[in-house]
Symmetry: C2
């Protein structure tokens, strides 16, 4: 019964060593120039023996900074999120920061419809922020898609904020996102390098940022290669399999040797349409995908595709907040808008002609 409950505190260590609390604190924080070697050693031994771990709660309360960064994820399960989050965590780990994640979808009771309802999105975001404000965070990273409108709801908190993958309408925060122009450009350049000059494109929704920018890149590459950009050869639709299926059926009539699909899901749909007609992808026609999702190596033949630089986006975003946190002066070096290129993964669906 002389036994104390709960974990061992700095007070316990101090008592066990017969020194003051401050001395223990000093040793633990490397200010050992203020403590004699014998005492320091004794304390270190006792700390190890007792299994003492300083409470980050108490530490943070005193220090004001919690050394933790909040991640707001629009949808944690969405294909791009986990890798971005891992990139963020990796970088934070390196710099000694903790991470807490809020998943917006959860606040929406598992429905997806809210993504389409802007009022609801705003409301959800506000709830999430209220919860996070309670957490005494040092900074915030918003991970989402390009599609949605993120308004200036954060400002109240006064925290450093950066956007990963997503873009805020008012462009108020540093942003790290895909370089879609270069993506489209590189895709065409690669296809041309393989001898293709008659190239079809199956795109996502026609008014989508990714779509628009990739088409820009495509046009740029074609101009350089002196290929006439034929709007008849690009089919807009959806990002999903069905879009690829329909797009490919449309393109089947055209005179092309290769097709650039703006997502791997689209490519899988294209495969389906091809197979239906007995045309084998990678032999009779070349197919280039985008995203490098798991599916791309599951297809037969394995899909050559452009890998999304997701961990890098996360990592650079994290670096940016940390920088903002540690030198608050540097805030307004022109709100950054960094675009990070995708990298080509060669597999077997594009052949040299």
């Amino acid at each position: 019964m002389g036994q104390k409950a709960g974990p061992v505190t700095i007070r316990d260590v101090a008592k066990a060593c017969g020194v003051s609390i401050s001395t223990v604190s000093n040793v633990l924080n490397g200010k050992s120039n203020k403590v004699s070697d014998e005492i320091a050693e004794k304390i270190r031994i006792e700390v190890a023996r007792m299994g003492y771990r300083p409470s980050s709660l108490a530490r943070s309360l005193r220090a004001v900074s919690t050394k933790t960064i909040g991640i707001i994820a629009e949808d944690l399960i969405e294909f791009s999120s986990p890798s971005i989050v891992e990139g963020i965590m990796s970088c934070c780990e390196e710099h000694g920061y903790n991470v807490v994640i809020e998943n917006m979808r959860l606040f929406g009771r598992w429905h997806r419809e809210w993504l389409l309802d802007e009022t609801l999105l705003d409301k959800t975001l506000k709830d999430v922020l209220a919860k996070m404000e309670t957490l005494n965070l040092d900074g915030l990273i918003y991970v989402g898609s390009h599609e949605h409108t993120v308004r200036n709801l954060f400002s109240a908190s006064g925290l450093p904020i950066v956007m990963a993958y997503a873009v805020s309408v008012d462009r108020q925060y540093p942003t790290f996102r895909l370089d879609d122009i270069t993506g489209g450009y590189d895709a065409i350049k690669y296809l041309v390098s393989k001898g293709h000059r008659k190239i079809g494109v199956i795109a996502g929704e026609y008014d989508n940022t990714h779509t628009i920018n990739r088409v820009l890149g495509i046009q740029k590459a074609m101009l350089e290669e002196r290929i006439l950009f034929d709007p008849e050869l690009v089919k807009y639709g959806s990002w999903f399999k069905v879009g690829g299926y329909e797009g490919m059926k449309y393109l089947l009539d055209k005179d092309i040797t290769a097709v650039f699909c703006m997502s791997d899901a689209i490519a899988s749909g294209a495969y389906a349409a091809l197979l239906e007609r007995g045309i084998v992808p990678g032999r009779d026609i070349s197919v280039l995908g985008y995203d490098n999702q798991d599916i791309s190596s599951g297809l037969t033949p394995e899909l050559t595709t452009m890998a999304l630089p997701l961990p890098e986006i996360g990592c650079r975003a994290a670096n940016a907040v940390i920088n903002l946190i540690e030198n608050p002066g540097a805030v307004s070096e022109d709100i950054a808008d960094v675009r990070i290129p995708s990298v080509l993964i060669e597999r077997n669906s594009v052949k040299q002609i």
Copy 2:
């Protein structure tokens, strides 16, 4: 310059209302029977106006409990982790708990080899735990694969701990994992219901828990259906595409009408082998997958498969820790070992004969 820095505290609110700190605290914590209605109202208004949010740091320090649960993920990017984590977060959200995630892979400097090296795994785990002990958590959930050895390293912390998906060697913690026996059983039952009685199996590694148990389930179902279990018809290999490719080539000589692949990746390899020989899956032969990964709907024809109950595993694990946290008495109601069945997703790769 009369301006205070930092966020608004309870003291500020108290001052603004001309009452004591305790009164504000009482109002905020619903003990309003100790406060007159006028004052309570006044405080609530002021709280809203000033945008005051109680610091969870200070609150937790005082309350001992942080209302947060730690997740240790062996590999956050691994296909099963994000969904399990989402399940956990969903449940925690509902019960008012926060969540912090540690990704073991990060501590291993992005290498995967450590998963094979048990000493390294233990060391990594110890590091992660040391970090988490600092966080004053209320409970812990370990999310990992069945493959690895998780020793009794946690005990020191004295925290409630449960395992999600993974299993600890010493079976010391409540465990929520796949019901592989039922999985194998249901798979065969389904195939039989579609008229198949000559069924091949492409399994994972022969000494893997999933493999062993699913085979058990297969045998049980076949016994029930009076089908002779022929060991020649089950091909062990790897969980990945290559395993499926080789397995299918092996089975091509046999007299079968359907093949049960123990992962979607295996099924994708089977598709490849089939296509190579001009056999079309879903028409000439039926294929059943397992996992319900993205890839399954990307294949042509779309793969009928068994969906892993990942969110449910996460959710039930979370419920269990929370229960352990809130009634510490209930600790030893026989260490639970709950097995959760997979659910069949019908698509187009299995046809009635």
